[in-house]
């Protein structure tokens, strides 16, 4: 436990001193900010048109379906897509780089065990990732200063992002544990994440049990509920299972290394 926390603290220290982590954070926040800007101006434009239609058609109920929650939902979907790029870059070096530097020999001969190494690294990187995600909450905070969106979906959406981050990071850790090359780890994680995003695309056409399975395995559908203010056991279980699977595979790969 103490040793795993030491691994976590060391990872955090390295990340905070690393230009890579700060570059990712800056890129993430700048892009998220631009998405936010474009959504706000598009929202304002659409708002004007709706007002015009409502006046022309003498139907004020048209405006009732139009509110800031749409913008909040859109913002969360955008940040979700950004995570697809951010997580692989952040996680690619996690184990692969230890191997290349030879520091895995230090970690794996210390009384911490492969499970402790994986847990420590995961926690350290997750804190960095959560920091970035929390930073993107700034934009929604600005929205609450100048408008009045429902607060519920904002909180549940942030919870959803936290869960997605953990799940994708665990996948990235597992891929990184399979190689000594950062580039291979990064690309592998990106491809796996992309597949998780696109899993449901052919679901309807495939149909049957397979179609249903593909639909259920897709990541975005499980996230969408969170952006609507809905926290369901199934969605939480999906992300927790994905994270657990990733960590399990990462641990198994590290543990088996000495037997090869």
């Amino acid at each position: 436990m103490r040793a795993a926390l030491a691994v976590c603290g060391r990872e955090l220290r390295s990340q905070l001193a690393s230009p890579l982590a700060w570059t990712i954070a800056a890129g993430f926040l700048v892009t998220a900010g631009y998405f936010f800007f474009s959504q706000v101006v598009n929202y304002a434009e659409a708002m004007q048109q709706y007002e015009m239609y409502a006046q022309l058609s003498q139907d004020p109920t048209m405006l009732e379906r139009f509110n800031l929650n749409l913008l909040v939902e859109g913002m969360f979907s955008n940040v979700l897509v950004l995570l697809l790029f951010v997580v692989p870059i952040l996680s690619m070096g996690s184990v692969a780089e230890e191997r290349r530097r030879g520091t895995d020999e230090l970690l794996l001969t210390a009384p911490v065990g492969p499970g402790g190494v994986v847990a420590g690294k995961f926690l350290g990187l997750l804190l960095v990732l959560w920091g970035m995600v929390a930073g993107s909450g700034l934009f929604l905070f600005l929205l609450t200063l100048h408008g009045n969106p429902e607060r519920g979906p904002i909180w549940t959406g942030m919870l959803g992002l936290a869960l997605v981050s953990a799940a994708l990071l665990a996948v990235g850790l597992a891929v990184s544990a399979a190689t000594a090359s950062q580039a291979v780890a990064g690309i592998g994680t990106f491809v796996l994440s992309l597949l998780l995003f696109a899993m449901a695309w052919p679901a309807e056409a495939v149909g049957g049990t397979l179609g249903k399975v593909l639909g259920d395995l897709a990541l975005p559908a499980h996230f969408d509920d969170f952006t609507k203010g809905l926290v369901t056991g199934a969605d939480v279980a999906y992300f927790v299972s994905l994270a657990a699977l990733g960590l399990f595979v990462a641990r198994a790969l590290l543990a088996s290394q000495r037997w090869r």
């Binding site: 603290g9 690393s18 520091t103």
Partner: protein, 241 residues
């Protein structure tokens, strides 16, 4: 304290170890010699639990390194062939992390780090980044990492590589001072080093032990160098990594 019995290990088609057996008693300093590629590093990696053997056993304090790795790790200090350094850490940060990783309680950590820093001659660079240090200091930081938690057994893979003669002498004296309270197995291919610090020598060649005797016995007939060449030149020396 250390016992290696009939160790064998191959990597694909390359046979690294065929049949390696030797023992190291408590408090002893044993030199582990051999040409490059003889199987020194592989043997030490098996003892340190980083690898497992294909056949045979390696035990540390009675614990099997393959099947009771955690018990072995608790007894060990280990300097791998390439010092496992985090170059974005200062010497003290790094050693603090190593101490925590090895289970040194928080309140004793600062003292353990200061002790290792002083013993390994790192005082003047203790707050500098490892990435900015010379090879000699990096090697010493690697050695400090192996000592910081006061382990019973030290396994050192070429501890004096990259050091200048003055530093080599300091490290030798340090290792000699460890005798008695620590058990040390140290690999090297620098022969005077062995004569200077070790009580006994194990020589491996092509994955087999070809000599195992007190230094005085091996050097009785001439220099250690002659003895080394005699036992390792039975056939041409071809390295394997």
């Amino acid at each position: 304290m250390l016992a290696v019995r009939s160790l064998a290990k191959r990597f694909g088609d390359v046979v690294a170890l065929q049949d390696v057996s030797f023992e190291v008693a408590r408090g002893e300093i044993v030199g582990f010699l051999g040409p490059n590629g003889a199987g020194k590093t592989t043997t030490l990696r098996i003892l340190s639990t980083y690898l497992t053997p294909d056949a045979g056993t390696a035990t540390v304090g009675g614990h099997d390194s393959a099947h009771e790795p955690m018990a072995v790790r608790r007894k060990l200090g280990y300097l791998p062939e390439h010092p496992p350094l985090y170059l974005d850490h200062t010497v003290r940060e790094y050693l603090g992390f190593c101490a925590a990783l090895r289970g040194v309680p928080r309140r004793r950590r600062a003292a353990a780090v200061d002790g290792a820093v002083a013993r390994c001659g790192l005082t003047e660079v203790r707050d500098r980044l490892l990435g900015n240090l010379s090879k000699g200091f990096r090697q010493r930081a690697g050695l400090a990492q192996a000592l910081v938690h006061g382990p019973e057994v030290l396994i050192l893979d070429e501890p004096t590589v990259g050091l200048d003669p003055q530093q080599i002498r300091e490290i030798r004296e340090l290792i000699r001072a460890l005798a008695g309270e620590h058990t040390v197995l140290l690999s090297t291919h620098i022969l005077p080093e062995v004569a200077a610090v070790c009580g006994r020598v194990v020589i491996v060649h092509r994955g087999r032990v070809v000599a195992d005797a007190p230094v005085t016995e091996l050097t009785g007939a001439g220099s250690l160098e002659e003895a080394f060449l005699r036992v390792t030149s039975a056939d041409a020396v071809e390295g394997m990594a």
